[in-house]
Amino acid sequence: MEGQDISSKESKLAQAVHPTGSDSHMGSHHGGHGGGAPGGGIKRDRSGHPKKSSGGLFSGPKPKPKPKPELPRTPYTSMFEEFRDEIDQHHDRREKIVKASRDVTGLSKKIIFSLLRHRALSSPLPPSIESEFASRISEIKSLILPILPEIQGVNRYRYQIRGLEEYVEAVSLYHYLRYQTLITPRQAVEVLGLGSSSEQGENEYEREMQAKIEHMKTDEKGEVGSEMEGVKGTEETKLELELTDEEYLGGIFDLFGEMMRFATNVAGLCGTLAPQKKATATVPPQPGGEKGKKETGECVNQDEDDGAGNKMDIDGEPEAPKKDGNMEEERTILIDIQELGSCIETLPISKGGKTMKFKVETMRNSVKKVEKLGYGLVVRGTERPAGWMPDLTDDRGTEMAEA
């Protein structure tokens, strides 16, 4: 009972000298952030002593009675200061990458929208689409170049760059429409001119793409060109963009959706899943044109296709398959999307995470939708009036309407 007595006596004293844990904690916490935030009532420094002269509530950055730092230096202060610098660097880098990635995503989406206005396969794209593509690609390049040093070596897998998936989606759609083949990971990098320069021969594609982009740029607007010139100058020690398999595959998964959209468009407008386009590069685009057709959206039957005399052709480009009357030779989007789907299915990616499962499921659905389109065209394609377009918003709705 003696102890009781002492403790009650001491209690006030101890309260003043040594506050309760939470109080002192709050004091030190706020002190750490440099504000003059109010604690319980008395402001305390981090060792628990009441601070002198607190200038009232929310006094803001008040003049200090003593010019000592908010947090007294401890044996560990300098260690934590080093950590702080490292962590800041890491967060800054990540922020920079995320920003660039988001912008790349936006540009890639624009590319996709513009490409989906096109209605033909394996043929030169109209100059308007080509030039838009080229200028967007050079924009993407100018976004990626500054972050390239940040994603080299050990840091390549450290930060997720979603924009690159989106970019692969856009560029693979372009490649598919243009050549009716699947873009390789290497080509996807070469479109940007960021591939490895070591291997010769395979870089045809890169040179061709870059030539095209340069050409388009000088045609279009000089300013982008000159800006890119500046970037090129600093590019002497050329860093490569390493595209990871995850990014490449992620983009290809998304390509399914775009192929499905494209197939639905052409099936509706052209009544075929193997639309060939009359070369329009030499023909000035006809704005307006016929009702219901977009400027770039002409579909022409194979019979009219000649594909010759096309100034867009550059040596080494795959030519559009020439008409030779052999129907078996001709690949439809349906065949392509099925083949691509089968290839993906052979990959041992089934036990990837939730997102991977979701992507595979979406892919399967896209394939099935195109299969339905193909079936529809065979069964009742001829009954359709030319230009009749199914309502794409709801599959079941379409079926019921048809039935």
């Binding site: 101890a14 560990y76 050990v154």
Partner: protein, 250 residues
Amino acid sequence: MDIASTSMIDPRIFESLKAKAEEETKVSEELGVKAKALDRDISFAQGLLTRIHSTPKAKLPALLVQVEDAIKAEIASVQELAVFASQYPYYKYNHRWTRNMQNVVSTMILCGWLGGMKTTATAAAEAAGGRQEELHIGRLMTIEEVGEVLNVPVNVKDRDTFHLTIEEYLIGLMDTIEELSRLAMNSVTLGDMDVSVKISAFVKDIYAGFQLLNLKNDIVRRKFDGMKYHVKKVEDVIYDLSLRNLISKE
């Protein structure tokens, strides 16, 4: 390039993707095995370390010898993991073992703080002082020391190899703080108030250190948010002691 007319897909694309995916699966499985082995060593070391809460000061050195042996096993497992993982991109697989590394760090820091994990430097200093038996409580192993003992590089930026990250060290340190906050109470029960006082000073210093960091919304931040409760727990103990005049004036 006339594949275009015959097939959509260059078969090499998927051959390569498939080969790489299969390799990835294999690597991942092997990493799982190594991580699990390390996990067993960690569990053992952590289990031994829970005894600090019931071990009086006199028996602590003997316990720490056991713990150090357990940590040696951890180090060996980390080595094995490091050698294997260094062949592959670090941040691709880093999530497989980052939790383990945090735990390893935390067992080492705790053991070191209690006076174990003598590096050659500290051992020599103590030998010179002639106080071999007395444990030197309150020493924080720096990230460099931890890396040195583990024989892995630390915070590597210029090459892609296995290493200990700052985040792993910091989280390990925060885990140690949690354990020490428990010890602050139990050492009072065991009659050793000095340890609680030392813990209090240490915990406050470390907490102040963490406040210097600009943390974003990540795991370190979440851990740090929980740390204030451990700090409070320690301060409550000290409050109880000072209230009753149980802290020796020093």
